[in-house]
C-alpha cells in the first residue's frame, strides 16, 4: 500500500493508482470532466490539476499522475480555482447554455463546475451559439441525440465505445473548434456499427448525448431514481429507473460505475427496451371468453371462473388433469407462490417453467457429473480468465454484459477459443475459431480430449484425486482422433489440436456455453462432455476456472430455485423425499401431491392426447416459444380450460378461456436470481396500468378461489417464507440483499454467500466422468431438406419479442425476421441479399428476408425467433433430449428457396 496525503487527510492507495483514483476510492472529489473510472486516463479537460507538495509548484493532472509514498496533494487553491474558472469559461464559449430546456439540467458536470468556480458564459466570446443546429449522425436515429453545441470534447463517449464496448462506432471528426463526435463516414447511428448500448449517453458529463425518447419528460430534479434489476437475460444488471412521479412514467434508465455485476454497463435492451411498460397494448382488465370472443370482466368474475375451471379439472381428472406453467420472467416470490399454488391448490406436481426449454440439460448434466447444476464461477471472475473457451455461446448478443467482461479479459491478454457454427462477434476475434457442423459438439469435445490424452497434458493429479471413471472416458475417446472428428465436424483437425492444447494449458481456463450446447436431443450429454473436458484438465473449482452455463432468462435460475419444477420443492428439496414433503406440509398446512408431474413439453403433448384438461400459463407464450408451432396450437386447443396471466395479448393468450392482466417487473417488488446465483432486489417504480393487480396477489386469489386460501401482506413476507423453507437462501433477507445481492448457498444470517462452487471438492464428492458417444441430431439433411436450420437470439430482441418490439429505437434497428445463409448457397439458389426467401421444414414454412454472407457454413441456415408475424418455431423440430425433454431448436433439416416477398 502507498500512503499519501490529500488536503491534509492521510489515505492509503494501491500502487499504480493515479491520484484521481486514490482520491475517488477514498471519497475525495477532485473536479473533472473527462475522467471516468472505467476508462484510461485522457488528460483532456485539464480540470483535475492539483498541487504536489505546496501551492508554489506547477500543478499536475490528478488523472494521469501515479501515487507515491509520502505525496502531499492539494486539490484546491486560489491558483487552481483560477485555472479551472478559465477552463470552464473557454468551454462555455463553445457551449450553448440552454439549461432551462436541457434534459441534463441538474445532472450536468459542466453546470456544476461553472457554478462552483463562478465561470461566465461570455468571457471569451461566443462560438457556435448563434448557428442553427446542423443535422448530424443522430438526427435520423430514434434513440440517441447528439448536440454538438453542448459537447465539451471530453472524449468519454468515444473512449467508452472503444475501451469498454469494444465497438469503436464513435470517433472525433474535424479539428479545433469544429471538432465533433461522429460515426465512420457520418453514417446514421442506427446504420453504423453502434449497438445502441447507451454507454455514450450514460458517460456524457453534459447534455450533449441524451435519449431522444426522454426529451422533456423529466429532468434530474423531476425524477426519482429507483434501483432495480434488469428483466432481460440472466446477467441481472443493476439499473436505475428514473421515474417522474407526476406522470407515473419511466423517463430514462441510468446506472453507475461500480453498481452491480454490470459495473455501470448496460446493453441496448437494458438501456432502451422499456417502452413496453407504458405500451397502450398492455392488458388492463381481466378478459373472459364468451361465445368465442373475449369480454372484459371484473376481477371477482374472472377469479371465480379461473377457480372453477382449475378446480373442476383437479376434482374430475386428478393431478394429471391440470398443469401450471410458471415464469422465468417473474420474481422468485411469484414462482414460489405458483408452485405452491400448483401443489397445494392444484394437488399436482405438474409445474414447470422455461428451464425445460433452455437450460434443463445443464442442470441434469452438471448435477450428474459434479453434483450441482449451477454456474461454477462468478461474472466478476471472467476478466481474470486466461483462456476463454466458448462453445455454443454468443455472449456479445445474448448476454452482452458477460461479453464485456470477456472483452476485459481479452484486453488483459486472455486467449479466446470459440467453437460455433456461426461467425459471431467473438468468433471473428478468436485466436482459434472452430466452425463445426451444428450438432457435432460431442465429436469435437471427444477429439479434444483424445488429443489432450495423447499428449499427456491432462491434469493427472486432479483426475486421480477428484474424479472417477477416468478409464472409461479414456477408452471412449480412443477412437475419436482429431482426424476422425474433422470429418464429422467439417473442420481442420489441426484446429482441434490447437484448441485442445490451448484449453488444457491456458490456466486458468474457463468454459462458457449456452443453448448451442443444451438445445439438442443430446443436450444433457453435451453438458456432461464439457464437464468431462473441464475435469480432465483440472480446469474447474478455482477462481476464474470452471464450467459456466450462462442462463438465458432473467430469473430462470430463481424459478428453478423456487421449485417450479415437477420433481423438486424450493431449494431443490426432493418431492420424492417423505421427510421433505412432511416439512412443507407442516409449513403450508396440507398434504403435498406425490404424482410424478411433468414438463412443459409433456403438458402440451398431454393436452393433445386429451389427458391434460386445464392449463394455467403465467408469463410465458408457449405458442411462440415451443417447437412445431402448428402442433402446439392444435394441442392447446384441445384443453377444456386455459388461463393465461400476461402483460400483453400473446399468441397463447389468444387461445385462452380467461386472460388475467399481469404486472411487469417495473411495477412490482421482489427478487430475481441471476446466472451466478446472485439474488437481487426488484423494486416497484411505477403503478400498473388499469386494473392490473400485483401478480403475487393474483396467485393468492386464484389459490383461494380453488379452495386453498393464501394471503400475504407483501412480497417481503413471501420472501421470508422462502428463506425459512429454502436452506440455500436461509441467510438472506431484503435488508441483506439490498445493495449488491447475495449468491446462494447462503445458509446463515452472517454467511457472505458463495462466489464459486466445487473448491477442493465437487458437490457429489468425486467428479463423475461419462463416456459420451457422438449421436447425430434427430433430423439430418437429406435430398428433400438439404440444409441444417439453427435458431437463436439477436442482440436487439428478447425471446418472443413481445417486450423488445415495443421499443421504437430497437424497431428502427431490427424489426423483421431474417434467415442467414451462405453466399455460395444463395448464388446457387438465386437468392439475393435483402431479398425474400422461403424456409421450409417438415413442420411448416415461412418467408423472410435473406441475409447472405459467410456468417454460417455452406449448408447452414440461422434464424432468430423474435417475430410473431414470422414465427420461426413453426419450423423447429419437436424432438427432445432424453432426460430433460428439451427440444432440439439448434438442428433441424430444412430447405430454402427464392420467394417473392417476406411474409408468413
Amino acid at each position: 500500500m502507498v500512503t499519501l496525503t490529500i488536503d491534509n487527510r492521510t489515505i492509503h492507495a494501491e500502487p499504480g493508482q493515479t491520484i484521481m483514483e486514490a482520491a475517488q476510492s477514498n471519497g475525495i472529489y477532485i473536479p473533472h470532466l473527462c475522467h471516468e473510472p472505467r476508462l484510461k486516463p485522457a488528460g483532456a479537460c485539464r480540470l483535475c490539476q492539483v498541487h504536489l507538495g505546496d501551492t508554489l509548484r506547477p500543478p499536475v493532472l490528478a488523472c494521469a499522475t501515479p501515487v507515491s509514498d509520502g505525496l502531499n496533494v492539494i486539490t484546491e487553491s486560489d491558483e487552481l480555482a483560477g485555472r479551472r474558472k478559465m477552463i470552464m469559461e473557454l468551454l462555455l464559449s463553445e457551449h450553448r447554455v440552454a439549461c432551462t430546456s436541457c434534459d441534463a439540467d441538474g445532472d450536468c458536470a459542466l453546470q456544476d463546475l461553472s457554478y462552483r468556480y463562478g465561470a461566465k458564459e461570455w468571457t471569451y466570446g461566443v462560438y457556435q451559439h448563434d448557428t442553427t443546429a446542423t443535422p448530424n449522425y443522430t438526427s435520423l436515429n430514434r434513440g440517441i441525440e447528439y448536440d454538438v453545441e453542448k459537447c465539451v470534447r471530453c472524449s468519454r463517449c468515444v473512449r467508452f465505445c472503444d475501451e469498454v464496448q469494444g465497438v469503436c462506432a464513435l470517433t472525433f471528426d474535424g479539428r479545433g473548434i469544429t471538432m465533433k463526435i461522429n460515426t465512420a463516414h457520418g453514417r446514421p447511428l442506427h446504420e453504423s456499427d453502434c449497438e445502441l448500448c447507451g454507454g455514450c449517453v450514460r458517460t456524457c458529463p453534459t447534455g450533449a448525448m441524451r435519449e431522444k425518447g426522454a426529451r422533456g419528460l423529466g429532468r434530474f430534479k423531476d425524477v426519482t431514481k429507483v434501483p432495480t434489476t434488469c428483466t432481460y437475460c440472466g446477467v441481472g444488471c443493476t439499473l436505475e429507473f428514473n421515474v417522474n412521479p407526476r406522470t407515473n412514467r419511466i423517463v430514462r434508465v441510468t446506472t453507475q460505475p461500480g453498481m452491480g455485476s454490470n459495473d455501470g454497463n448496460l446493453c441496448v435492451k437494458g438501456h432502451f427496451a422499456f417502452d413496453f411498460v407504458h405500451s397502450p397494448e398492455r392488458l388492463t382488465k381481466p378478459l373472459i371468453r364468451k361465445h368465442g370472443v373475449f369480454q372484459e370482466a371484473s376481477w371477482q368474475e374472472a377469479l371465480a371462473a379461473v377457480g372453477r375451471g382449475l378446480a373442476a379439472a383437479r376434482d374430475q381428472y386428478g393431478p394429471d388433469g391440470l398443469a401450471f406453467l410458471s415464469s422465468s420472467r417473474c420474481t422468485n416470490e411469484e414462482n414460489y407462490l405458483m408452485q405452491k399454488l400448483a401443489r397445494m391448490a392444484g394437488k399436482t406436481n405438474n409445474i414447470d417453467q422455461c428451464a425445460t426449454t433452455c437450460h434443463a440439460p445443464t442442470v441434469a448434466g452438471l448435477a450428474m457429473s459434479l453434483g450441482s447444476g449451477a454456474m461454477t464461477n462468478s461474472i466478476g471472475e471472467i476478466k481474470d480468465v486466461q483462456t476463454l473457451f466458448l462453445i455454443g455461446a454468443n455472449p456479445t448478443e445474448a448476454h452482452p454484459i458477460v461479453g464485456l467482461e470477456m472483452k476485459k479479459a481479452m484486453r488483459k491478454g486472455a486467449r479466446l477459443i470459440v467453437c460455433d457454427p456461426r461467425d459471431t462477434w467473438m468468433a471473428k476475434r478468436a485466436h482459434i475459431h472452430i466452425k463445426h457442423r451444428p450438432g457435432t459438439d460431442n465429436m469435437l469435445i471427444n477429439a479434444m480430449m483424445h488429443h489432450i490424452l495423447t499428449l499427456g497434458i491432462h491434469d493427472q493429479a486432479f483426475v486421480a484425486e477428484r474424479c472417477e471413471q477416468f478409464e472409461a472416458l479414456r477408452e471412449n475417446v480412443r477412437a475419436c482422433s482429431p482426424e476422425a472428428a474433422a470429418e464429422v465436424c467439417g473442420v481442420d483437425a489441426d484446429l482441434i489440436r490447437r484448441a485442445a492444447e490451448g484449453y488444457a494449458k491456458g490456466t486458468p481456463s474457463a468454459i462458457f456455453y449456452t443453448l448451442g450446447i443444451t438445445e439438442h436431443t443430446c443436450g444433457t450429454e453435451n453438458v456432461q462432455n464439457l464437464a468431462n473436458l473441464a475435469m480432465l484438465c483440472g480446469q474447474i473449482g478455482k477462481p476464474s476456472s470452471g464450467i459456466n452455463p450462462i442462463r438465458g432468462q432473467n430469473n430462470v435460475q430463481g424459478a428453478c430455485d423456487m421449485g417450479a419444477i415437477h420433481s423438486v420443492l424450493p431449494g431443490y428439496q426432493k418431492v420424492g423425499d417423505e421427510a421433505v414433503r412432511a416439512k412443507f406440509a407442516k409449513a403450508w398446512g396440507g398434504e403435498l401431491p406425490t404424482n410424478l408431474g411433468g414438463r412443459v413439453t409433456d403438458f402440451i403433448e398431454k393436452a393433445g392426447e386429451g389427458v391434460l384438461k386445464a392449463f394455467y400459463v403465467f408469463g410465458e407464450d408457449p405458442v411462440l416459444s415451443e417447437p412445431n408451432q402448428d402442433k402446439v396450437i392444435a394441442d392447446l386447443k384441445k384443453l377444456d380450460f386455459l388461463v393465461v396471466q400476461e402483460i400483453f395479448m400473446t399468441e397463447t393468450a389468444k387461445l385462452a378461456d380467461v386472460v388475467l392482466p399481469a404486472t411487469c417487473f417495473a411495477e412490482k417488488d421482489g427478487t430475481f436470481t441471476n446466472t451466478e446465483r446472485r439474488v437481487q432486489r426488484v423494486r416497484k417504480a411505477v403503478e400498473p396500468p388499469g386494473e392490473a393487480h400485483p401478480d403475487w396477489q393474483v396467485l393468492c386469489d386464484v389459490s383461494t378461489a380453488m379452495g386453498f386460501p393464501m394471503a400475504y401482506a407483501s412480497a417481503s413476507e413471501i420472501f421470508d417464507e422462502i428463506t425459512a423453507l429454502t436452506p440455500s437462501y436461509g441467510g438472506m433477507s431484503y435488508e441483506r440483499i439490498d445493495k449488491v445481492g447475495l449468491q446462494w448457498p447462503c445458509p446463515t444470517k452472517d454467511h457472505p454467500g458463495t462466489r464459486f462452487l466445487h473448491q477442493g471438492r465437487f458437490t457429489r464428492g468425486k467428479g463423475l466422468m461419462h463416456a459420451i458417444k457422438f449421436r447425430p441430431p434427430a433430423e439430418v439433411p437429406d435430398a428433400d431438406y438439404p440444409f441444417i436450420l439453427s435458431t437463436g437470439r439477436t442482440l436487439y430482441h428478447y425471446n418472443i419479442g413481445n417486450m423488445t418490439r415495443k421499443t421504437e429505437v430497437i424497431s428502427q434497428k431490427q424489426d423483421e425476421n431474417f434467415v442467414e445463409l451462405h453466399r455460395a448457397d444463395a448464388e446457387r439458389l438465386g437468392i439475393v441479399d435483402g431479398g425474400a426467401a422461403r424456409v421450409t421444414t417438415r413442420r411448416g414454412s415461412i418467408a423472410v428476408r435473406a441475409h447472405i454472407g459467410d456468417k454460417v457454413r455452406p449448408g447452414g441456415l440461422w434464424m432468430p425467433f423474435h417475430f410473431v408475424e414470422s414465427p420461426t418455431n413453426r419450423l423447429t423440430n419437436d424432438a427432445f433430449d432424453n432426460i430433460t425433454r428439451t427440444a432440439e431448436y439448434k438442428c433441424c433439416a430444412a430447405r430454402i428457396e427464392h420467394a417473392e416477398m417476406p411474409g408468413a
Binding site: 442442470v363 423438486v568 431443490y572 436452506p727 477442493g760 471438492r761 464428492g765
Partner: protein, 267 residues
Amino acid sequence: MKTVILIDTANDSYEAIFQAAIAAGWNVISKAARTADAVVISADAAGLQPALQNLAAARRSGAVAVLVADFKHSGRDAVFGSTGMLEVDALFDKPVDGPAVMRRLDGIMAARASVERHEASEMDVILARAIVNEESSSAFYRQAADRVHDPVTRDALEGLMRDEIGHKQLIEEFRSGARPLPEGSTSGGSLVERFGSPDFTADMSPPDAFLLAAKKEKLAVEFYENWARLYPAGPERDLLLNLAEIERRHKLKVEAMFTNAAFPEAW
C-alpha cells in the same frame, strides 16, 4: 511405572486388555484411583454414554483416553453421535485386540514423553502437543471413514484425514524452520453453530460429515485459544494463536465444503 485404569461395563474384554497391559509393563490400578496415565473403557451399548463422559473427563485431566466398543453393531451410532467422542484419543472394535490397545497407548505416551523431554522450551512443548493433536485427528477421521457406508462420505472423511496429515507436516516444517505458520485471525464461519453437529451414523451424508468435522475443528480452535490465555503476550502465545488460526481456517474450509455439498442444484 505407567498406570492404567481398566473399566469393562460388558464383562467381555477386561481379561484381554489386562493381560496385554501386564505384558506391556503397565500397572493396572483400581478405578477408584483419582489419576492415571491412561484410561481404557470397554463398554456395552448401555454403558456407552457414561463411558464417553468419563473418558472426556479423564482426557481433560491429562490421561490418555481409549474406548473399546462394539462399533460393528449398535455401538457405532451412539459413540460417533456424541460430542464426547471427539475427546477420545483412540477407538477399538470388539472383540478387542489387547496388544493393539496397549501399542496405541504406548505410542501416545511416547509422544507425550517426547513433549515432556523437551519441556525446557515451552515452544517445543506446544509444538509437540500440536503434532500429537494432528495425529490424533487424522486417526479419528481414518476410523470414522472406515465406519461409514457411503463411498462419497468415506472419501470426504479421508480427505479430512489428509488435511490433518498436512497440518502435521506444516507444524513439523515450522519446527525445523522450513516455513512459517499462518498468522492472523480469520473471521466468519458459523455454520456449525447454526446447524449443530449431527449424530454420526454409518449412513451419514457428506454434508453431515463436514458439519461433524467443523465441530471438531471448533473444539481445536477453542483448545489453542484457551491455552493461549495462560500465557502473557510473547512468542508462546503467538504460536498458540497461530495454531488456533490453522484450525480456524480448517473449520472455514470444511464449512465451505459443507455449503458446497449441502445445497446442490439437482434435477
